[in-house]
């Protein structure tokens, strides 16, 4: 008998060692970290965030609050962005009254409830040790029960909280008479987090596997196995170990679930508003202002279908030329051109804006809207760039902004560039006719058949003074032109420019801004002076354009006055002479 009791003690010792080791793991590596959870710091993260969001809200009140004036597409973009932002933040926080987010509250509750539930089990397991004197009594008790039968029991022996009589009663299957401790089969797990309990589930602790392994060498001694099994049951050791494992498993499951929820929440609440939309809105607004208010262009006023088409085109252009175009520019192009042409014009404009990125939004769109080819627009802008680089009267170019600046107002610059083209072409044509007259290739009849009186007057004078002109050399002293010859050339050029303007597609186009009432040819101003062209600006002021030779430049300062905001002098070459200036471009 003492042999098998010795075996029981040895086997039980091994089980005690294993159980206590596992208990310490739970205590040191699980419960302790939960107990030192930095709740205050975790709470602070939320509080700091919450206070920041509230402070931002207060600051924004200065822009959107009562009595403030923050209006326009840019303001709408800011309002939309912040509306979207606060919407996202409110979904994120779902704050409790003390400013802590929902999932952090859950985390803290999970940790504290897990500690609370595990501790009784740990205490119970802790008392199951070899120094427990009752253990020896229990071993002896069960050895007697299994060897001699219940009659061998010592009356009144107490084992733990119950008497041996109670234990016997319980084992004999009489309900209500057993010890006042739940058995491993009777126990209900607490379910604080609405997770399924361990009942009906595969045990997670592996406790019985370990016991079986320890008892394997005693398989032949059934009494050893029986005694140890009964002792384990009596101490509910299997239940305590199972509960600890389950609570740890439950904590891990809940943590995994929290992790998943937080990730999901992050993906749906992350502030995603594109702050670039403010810049886009301002660009759009600037383009709209330029085309509508500076350039007199009505619109854009599109049908729903056209608007949808414009948005599609804009999206494609954005993909190919990010940040280059504005939706307003595309809308104007869709309004002013047939569908297939509009598409080409959109990409032409994108190319042009890429080539000349410093020009304000809407500037180049205005040129494109006039129906010009890309080559023509590029040439126009290059001339204007040269003009913009001029210092008055001293520069190398042939366009002078005596008042106002080139490359700022496309409504003015367009007339400058396009009429400069006509001027250069007209001067060249006139010199070609002059040479034909001087070379005898043009007769008086030919001259008479030309449409313009000023051209005829110049060529008639050329015809009359053919011999003097043939010998003219500006570099020889005493050699001079017939009186008024330069002036006749200049007048002829002006008239040819005006004739070109009258038939220009951009003047006669119904959608053009350059209608007769704001583009005056041959009209005197209130001071009795008459620039070659006067163009009325959208603010009611005027731009003066004069086409002349370089040596007349100074005389055009007379238009540097009201009502002219712009005074532009466009220089052409004379018939010939020392003041010849190279053609621009």
């Amino acid at each position: 008998m003492s042999d098998f009791l010795h075996e029981v003690e040895n086997a039980l010792g091994e089980i005690i060692n294993d159980v206590q080791t596992r208990r310490k793991v739970y205590e040191d590596d699980f419960i302790h970290p939960l107990k030192i959870f930095p709740k205050q710091q975790v709470d602070e993260l939320d509080i700091i965030h919450d206070q920041c969001v509230q402070a931002v809200q207060t600051s924004l009140g200065k822009l959107f609050g009562p009595g403030t004036t923050f209006q326009g597409e840019g303001a709408t973009a800011v309002a939309n962005l912040m509306g979207d932002y606060f919407d996202h933040e409110s979904k994120l926080s779902n704050y409790s009254t003390n400013g802590i987010s929902e999932y952090m509250v859950q985390l803290e509750q999970l940790c504290s409830s897990t500690i609370q539930q595990m501790e009784p089990h740990l205490e119970a397991v802790s008392s199951f040790n070899s120094s427990n004197v009752l253990l020896g009594d229990i071993i002896h008790y069960w050895s007697d029960v299994f060897q001699k039968g219940p009659q061998a029991l010592i009356d009144g022996l107490q084992v733990g909280p119950w008497s041996m009589g109670q234990v016997e009663h319980f084992l004999s299957g009489q309900p209500g008479a057993g010890p006042q401790v739940q058995s491993s089969q009777q126990l209900q797990m607490q379910q604080p987090l609405q997770q399924p309990g361990p009942q009906g589930q595969t045990p997670v602790s592996g406790f019985w596997d370990i016991v079986a392994a320890i008892l394997a060498p005693f398989a032949a001694l059934i009494i050893v196995v029986n005694i140890i099994t009964e002792i384990i049951k009596q101490f509910s050791l299997d239940w305590h170990m199972e509960s600890l494992a389950f609570l740890a498993w439950q904590w891990v499951s809940q943590m995994n679930s929290l992790h998943d929820h937080i990730l999901m929440q992050n993906s749906s609440t992350n502030p995603s508003g594109n702050v670039g939309s403010i810049h886009t809105a301002l660009k759009n607004e600037a383009a709209n202002f330029m085309l509508k208010r500076v350039c007199h262009l009505p619109g854009p006023n599109l049908s729903p279908e056209q608007n949808e088409f414009a948005k599609q085109l804009y999206a494609v252009a954005e993909a190919l030329y990010p940040g280059v175009l504005t939706l307003t520019e595309v809308q104007y192009l869709v309004q002013y051109f047939p569908k297939d042409v509009a598409e080409r014009k959109v990409f032409m404009l994108a190319e042009l804006k890429t080539m000349f990125p410093k020009l304000p939004d809407g500037y180049l769109a205005f040129f494109v809207l006039q129906g010009l080819s890309m080559t023509t627009i590029v040439q126009d802008v290059q001339w204007l760039q040269t003009a913009a680089a001029n210092t008055q009267g001293k520069g190398p170019g042939n366009i002078y902004y005596m008042q106002g600046s080139a490359l700022t107002n496309p409504y003015v610059d367009f007339v400058t560039a396009e009429t400069y083209r006509y001027e250069a072409q007209s001067a060249n044509q006139l010199r070609a006719w002059q040479n034909q007259v001087l070379n005898g290739q043009m007769t008086l009849t030919d001259i008479a058949n030309l449409p313009d009186d000023a051209v005829k007057a110049f060529l008639m004078k050329t015809y009359r003074y053919k011999a003097q002109l043939a010998n003219y050399n500006p570099n020889i002293a005493g050699s001079k032109l017939p009186d008024g010859y330069d002036g006749l050339f200049g007048t002829a050029v002006q008239e040819m420019v005006k004739a070109n303007i009258r038939t220009a597609p951009w003047v006669r186009n119904e959608q053009s801004y350059l209608l007769d009432n704001n583009l005056l040819l041959d009209k005197s101003d209130a001071a009795g002076q008459r620039p070659d062209i006067q163009l009325q600006l959208s603010n009611g002021q005027w731009a003066a354009f004069d086409y002349t030779t370089y040596n007349q430049l100074g005389s055009k300062k007379k238009y540097n006055r009201s009502p002219y905001n712009f005074n532009i002098v466009l220089i052409h070459n004379g018939p010939f002479g020392k003041d010849e200036i190279l053609t621009q471009g």
Partner: protein
Amino acid sequence: MTSTVANGSGSSDTILYPTSTMRDVANEILAKVQASRQQHNQQWNIIQQYFTQAIPTYRPFNITPSFGFTWGDDVSSHMKAVLEPHAQRLNSTYDWLEKFAKALLDAADEIDKTDTLMKNYFDSTTE
């Protein structure tokens, strides 16, 4: 400065940008975000120290106890898995607000620049 664009077409679409207030608001947001981020980092540093403290110290089998689940499972890794994405989300608020405030400052500059340009459209004089 308040940027006001006159309505030339007679319609009611007035454009008003108080660029000075825009800058004030943007700078306030930037300052608040910077302070919040600093406080956040201070707290987060302590939480990170906790992650280290929560790593298992008792290794009776000379291995990291796993509580019967994924190998290497421990409180520290689970706490990290929950707290790191949460902190990251809070940080993304600061990142976004910072971008927004800078965009607001850029917008104020852009508006002032456009204001100058608009003046030149009509009013530039050289003499």
